[in-house]
Symmetry: C2
Subunit: 395 residues, 2 copies
């Protein structure tokens, strides 16, 4: 354990500021932010701290013994983490996009340089999901991890289903309250959930799957008809990140709106909250719930990573190093709800079995079974169309 941590911080957005506030509230002063690197030095940050716009000022400071990276730009974040590990400086990262694309090589670099590298705060803000998967659930017993991983889209869905707001009004409200990311497609098209799912999958099942190989569908094209359909079936639509062992021992994962029934834990996860259900053989189910976003909760989560780093904690990646690694598969059949308008769009999706069919001049839908592999094959063609699809689980 290091006696005193002097942090070189990159980024002072809402999470960076959150960390600053949280550290100010902690009694022991053995963790301090020594210097903060920001892009724009002229912006008034409202705090007295040692700012710089030169990364070299951080890496060149011999007193700084930990790097914390909380910036938006994934490529810049990648450079910072690499440079930290190469310099044997323990590093905490919060950039889920960067992690989702670069984790395997960064894990390897961390191992080669024996340098701690933590990022619990990147997935689900203040819910310690990674640490729990890493520490608590034994290898072979894990069945699935399923959760609401994005607060902004869940906020919008909550307003629609509980307060009968329209999609547009709910979206505006989310933006006004500052819940939405600067690029709304990150939240509403499922990218943010996808990045988190890729990270969680490494810790849950020990495999890395490139984001591009995963079926991802968001809620941007959802409309009144879909909301009505869900209400009729007494379900709510939730945007769910989902990874699960398949029957053949592989692992499939996808981000997709799901029609969730009342008796499910995540049915009741509302507003900007996140909720994750971890299912295991013997364990039955665990449910973890908390604020998934926001400067202070995420700042507090970053502080947990810093404290863990201080105590020389490292992820073990036990499952990645397992003697019998699992493989990624898309060969799994799921029931879905598919709403469309034109006959051309009706044929976009290959159903192995059609269970319900409704057609009208305004809108039409099919409830039927699809193979996830067939969805992956057409995922580019689904974008920007007047269609919507959602998983419609049997239970």
């Amino acid at each position: 354990m290091k006696k005193e941590i002097k942090i070189g911080l990159f980024g002072f957005g809402s999470v960076g500021r959150g960390l600053y506030d949280v550290l100010g509230a902690v009694e022991g002063k053995d963790i301090v932010i020594k210097r903060i690197c920001v892009r724009n030095l002229n912006k008034d940050r409202g705090v007295v701290a040692d700012f710089t716009d030169q990364a070299d000022d951080i890496f060149g400071d011999p007193e700084i013994n930990m790097i914390v990276e909380l910036i938006d730009d994934a490529e810049a974040a990648y450079t910072i983490v690499r440079r930290s590990l190469e310099a044997h400086l323990p590093v905490v990262s919060g950039n889920k996009k960067m992690l989702a694309y670069h984790l395997p090589e960064l894990i390897e670099l961390g191992r080669q340089t024996s340098t701690p590298f933590l990022y619990d705060a990147s997935a689900c803000g203040s819910i310690p999901v990674i640490r729990n998967l890493e520490e608590y659930y034994d290898n072979d017993l894990l069945v699935s991890v399923k959760g609401i991983l994005n607060g902004s889209s869940n906020f919008v869905l909550s307003k629609i289903f509980n307060e009968n707001m329209t999609y547009d009004a709910a979206l505006r409200l989310a933006q006004e309250l500052g819940f939405a990311e600067s690029d709304p497609s990150l939240d509403f098209d499922g990218w943010d959930s996808l990045f988190k799912l890729v990270i969680l999958t490494i810790h849950a099942f020990g495999i890395y799957v490139e984001p591009e190989k995963i079926f991802r569908y968001g809620i941007s094209s959802m409309n009144e008809a879909d909301i009505r359909f869900a209400a009729e079936k007494q379900r709510r639509i939730k945007l769910v990140g989902h990874v699960e062992k398949s029957d053949d021992g592989g692992v499939y994962l996808w981000v997709v709106p799901q029609l969730i029934s009342r008796d499910k834990y995540i049915y009741s996860v509302e507003d900007e909250f996140n909720g994750v259900v971890i299912k295991g053989r013997y364990y039955y189910k665990q449910f973890m719930f908390g604020r998934g976003a926001g400067g202070h909760p995420t700042g507090a989560a970053v502080l947990s990573d810093i404290t863990a780093c201080k105590y020389d904690y490292r992820y073990e990646y036990k499952r990645m190093n397992s003697a019998s690694p699992v493989h990624h598969t898309n060969d799994v059949v799921y029931r879905i709800y598919y709403r469309y308008r034109t006959e051309e769009d009706a044929t976009l999706i290959r159903f192995t079995k059609i269970r319900e069919r409704y057609t009208s001049p305004e809108w039409s839908y099919i409830v039927g079974d699809v193979n996830l592999a067939d969805l992956v094959a057409v995922k580019e063609q689904l974008a920007g169309k007047e269609i919507f699809l959602a998983a419609y689980p049997w239970d």
Copy 2:
């Protein structure tokens, strides 16, 4: 990390058997139960394993490199854990009563002998509360831990409030289903919750409080009138273990039935489940939920402890070693509901303020404010009377 774990197991009740089953389902065979010590060798256990009734057969076996203690008898469990630590054998314990009375000296012994000693499974079965408190929540930021820590009593309360069963019928059902401990007062008088609360408090706030110093009240004397009162107020009665920082920086804890309103997470924790809410400054609230009891979930939790032991994980007890330790206090005012029959019983409790009063020949109640210290002072006198009390929180 040890290459292969050979366990000497004490006890083969439902949790011991659960561990046996779970281990059988795990692929890698680097954790095996070498020998099992039971009290009665003649009982048919239904499995083929190397049983003994002599502790020396375990401690004398040079191949055994970890002790797992899952027996009912607290004094015998204490002897086993001491002997393990003295022999520098890593030990996993599931006996909450033993831990609640002996933790400080066992922690010290573990430190002196540098021997891992884990017991996550003892509190809340399969919910990793201790590990989370220990690893994730920073010192000064924790405000409270509050939860339904006992599955059997919660099962009974669920049946009463959701299915209109009588207390007696619900209790019989719990016993038939095997949920209740052999001594029902452990569950229903709050002892089991109390033991777990004492353990959690060490990890949450770094102080050990003897069970006898803590106000503990159960649900055995609850009757129809109390159920009606709760329903009128649109609340449910839950048996809650609760530790919280007081305004003066102390920590108070108690186990008490609480009238819980609908918007609280633990309102919806039903049947034999446990649910724990961890509240922190900045974190807002975390909610963890899962099966708190049962052979398989608890067995899986014990396996997590074993795996952690294998990786040389130890609790850090950061807060116990803190430079500014907190103190135990009972000086906190709470609103309670107090139901009684005789005028003599009415005066048992010293109210600092009476807010509601109802009297009738059949039953009477007072809603008013009490100081927890005043409750502690009379706790012996409350037992066995025709009275019932429950905390009645403002929110």
